[in-house]
Symmetry: C2
Subunit: 225 residues, 2 copies
DNA sequence: TTAACAAACGTGATTTTGTCACAGAACTTC
DNA sequence: GAAGTTCTGTGACAAAATCACGTTTGTTAA
């Protein structure tokens, strides 16, 4: 959680801050608000109006694709210090696809209003550049997921997802549902359940409602390789 | 095919050209060469050294992912006038994934050497910006493929691919192999063959070696919807 | 403190898609 | 026209997704 003033936070997280004119700094600051999101709440959906640039100051946000039939596939997650450009995608005319963004935990962020950011971005190439570089970062994230889904067997993907959770939990006890893992891996809940059962048979994990305990991290790493 | 001088071609295809200094223009021009590629030849592979910025002046280039086992999935194609940034991905530090690029037909392009482009891009934010905007364009292309592969049934994807070919052929007679369609749809050759057989049974297409004739474009569109 | 409810999970049956192995057909080249 | 290459067809199988339930587990509220 970041609790200091708006200006200090903006300066910390926006690398171009010191290259802005005083007027630009003021304009940004005056159009930035602090926002709180409850776990599971929606931040951005498809091509609805653009919330603006999201600067994560606490919690986890999750960017995902949503199919017409309601299937979700997670693209990447954002943590404290990450700046979310797709919540301001309306600013970048090159971005023509739709993503959804939710708060995955209770979370908070600074929001730079889209029009204010757009105005500065239109005049200041350094700022515009920052935005496009963020997009390129996400491009790489998405390509990573895509390769995983296209080329890796499901056992491997699930093992990888479990290890990711293990890291962000900082513990061998993971608290998440099978449904959640299905979204992370671009698969279906039943498929996750079945594979987890196989992992149990192999002595790799232990299951209980809403919790997965890793018993053999080595085997898991080997699987995910 | 573009046959005029280097400088004219650069000016036509690089929107930032007129904003360069004389020295920058000269440097770019002197580090640009015209290249010919035979159908099927490789232009860029993974993280091998960067060829540089590719400006397509004729033919078709194809950007694809390649798995360890050799499976290929086409991401997008480039035509006359398109500028390829991923062949110069080494310049953009944000781009961390690997793609491959082939000439899909006999093709030709101008190549701006990577170091020359990088030098100018490092000093001139407008040029750097241009590069990142190109990347964002491709990001959108890739997201489009990803949604197709993740959310659409194979019949639909194949119908879409056939319609794409129908357009670029400008005719109901498509000249391509099942293997090619498999790469376009992120699937396998046998799967394409089988689905095409179903299309034949439904009176949608007619098959012969290396050629597919669309008999019922309406049904195909309905399938692809 | 249960009854009622909702969320999470288990599992068989089915379909779709991808993989493997091989065979035959259709063009090319010499 | 013999040999080789490329392209296609097909059966058997495996992996994964989907469908249709049923069961378990925890929460809420009468």
């Amino acid at each position: 959680m970041v609790t200091d003033g708006l200006q200090e936070t903006l300066q910390r997280y926006l690398p171009f801050w010191d290259k802005l004119s005083k007027a630009e700094q003021e304009s940004l600051r005056d159009n930035t608000t602090r926002a709180q999101y409850a776990k599971g709440s929606n931040v951005h959906r498809g091509h609805s109006e653009c919330v603006g640039l999201l600067i994560v100051t606490g919690g986890i946000f999750c960017t995902y694709l949503l199919s017409d039939e309601g299937r979700e596939v997670t693209l990447y997650r954002m943590y404290e210090g990450d700046v979310c450009i797709l919540s301001a995608a309306c600013i970048l005319r090159q971005i023509t696809f739709e993503v959804h963004i939710d708060a995955q935990t209770d979370a908070e962020a600074l929001i730079v209003s889209a029009p204010a950011f757009e105005a500065i971005s239109a005049k200041n190439p350094i700022v515009e550049n920052f935005a496009y570089k963020l997009a390129a970062d996400r491009f790489s994230d998405v390509m990573w997921s895509m390769q995983q889904i296209l080329f890796m067997g499901f056992d491997r993907r699930l093992a990888g997802a479990l290890l990711d959770e293990r890291i962000s939990a900082g513990s061998l006890e993971i608290h998440c549902t099978h449904e959640y893992l299905a979204r992370q891996t671009g698969s279906a809940r039943e498929v996750v359940s079945r594979m987890l059962k196989r992992f149990v048979e192999d002595g790799i994990v232990e299951l209980s409602r809403g919790r997965i305990t890793i018993l053999d991290e080595g085997k898991l790493r080997e699987l995910a390789r």
